[in-house]
């Protein structure tokens, strides 16, 4: 039907690109930007799971990613409120 390997490569590319962007991307000194950048890597992982037909894992990943983001944002905003220099 269609090329499955292509999807794996796209997924890996996205994952690597996303992690690179998270680590060294522009403006990652700001934790908010860094957190949003992790989304790219997680979509890459989602694609790999999709191609490997692990759809249940995919479902779980999508819903936990949101919650992890929420937690991270909570930590960030809380720390900024306290005025902590972390």
């Amino acid at each position: 039907m269609f090329n499955l390997a292509l999807w794996v490569y796209v997924g890996l590319t996205l994952a690597i690109f996303g992690s690179l962007a998270t680590v060294w991307g522009p403006g990652v000194k700001d934790p908010v930007i860094r957190t949003i950048n992790t989304e790219v890597a997680s979509v890459g992982v989602s694609l790999i799971l999709l191609t490997y037909n692990s759809t249940l894992a995919l479902l779980t990943l999508i819903s936990t990613t949101i919650i992890v983001t929420l937690i991270l944002f909570r930590a960030i905003s809380r720390l900024e409120e306290i005025g902590a220099d972390v």
């Binding site: 994952a15 690179l20 930590a75 809380r78 306290i82």
Partner: protein, 225 residues
């Protein structure tokens, strides 16, 4: 017929892609770890450990069997829980470091988004319903997401401690439920259907209530004035 449904050996696709995917996972892990090694600020390291967790998922998924998927599922939820606990420690650490007498209640938020008044009820209901149907880890995560979004969108500022304890109690009970289910499988194998339901629903309740807890903890952050 039967042989075609489940092959004896791992299909060629998985074994062909294994090296690639594993290398990809290793690269992602390497990038994340080097990023941690170079980073100095605490919160940034916490965000970067998320990447390391994703790399772990890739490496486990690369095996490409049902077992590997079963290993991923809980791993995801565990990763989530650990981030939660550690971020909480970070916050309390910073609070301790600061002056004790300053107020630490979050700044109230004053936003009025149309979407927050109408959509969440529906979406949350749908998600919870779907999660209950799914059951297990996946269902727990989905339903938990629904609960989070519901709590987040409502004006539930100042929810009492009792509710938290109640949620804890639910999850404790469901945990027992599910352990009983697990033991049933081996002690009384003839009741496997009953134990299946005990286990699935116990886990659902447990995960969902725990994730719902996040929402309750968030209500201070995003609960509007």
């Amino acid at each position: 017929m039967v042989a075609s449904i489940v092959p004896q050996l791992v299909p060629a696709f998985y074994s062909l892609m294994y090296t690639t995917v594993l290398y990809g996972g290793l690269i992602v892990a390497f990038i994340g770890l080097i990023g941690i090694a170079m980073e100095k600020r605490d919160i940034q390291v916490l965000i970067l450990t998320d990447i390391v967790g994703l790399a772990m998922l890739i490496i486990v998924a690369a095996v490409g069997t049902d077992l590997s998927e079963a290993l991923i599922l809980p791993g995801l939820v565990v990763e989530l829980a650990e981030i939660m606990a550690i971020s909480e420690i970070l916050i309390s650490h910073e609070m301790r470091k600061k002056d004790v007498h300053t107020s630490f209640t979050p700044i109230p938020l004053n936003i009025d988004m149309e979407i927050m008044t109408t959509a969440p009820n529906f979406i949350a209901l749908l998600l919870i319903g779907y999660g209950v149907f799914l059951s297990g880890f996946t269902g727990g995560a989905v339903a938990g997401g629904g609960i989070v979004i519901y709590v987040l969108s409502r004006k539930v500022r100042g929810l009492p401690v009792v509710v938290l304890d109640g949620v804890g109690a639910i999850s404790g009970i469901s945990w027992c439920l599910w352990i009983i289910g697990f033991l049933f499988f081996f002690i009384l194998p003839q009741y496997w259907l009953l134990s299946l339901f005990l286990a699935a629903l116990g886990l659902l309740l447990k995960v969902a209530s725990k994730i719902g807890l996040i929402g309750i903890m968030m209500r201070e952050e995003y609960g509007r004035k």
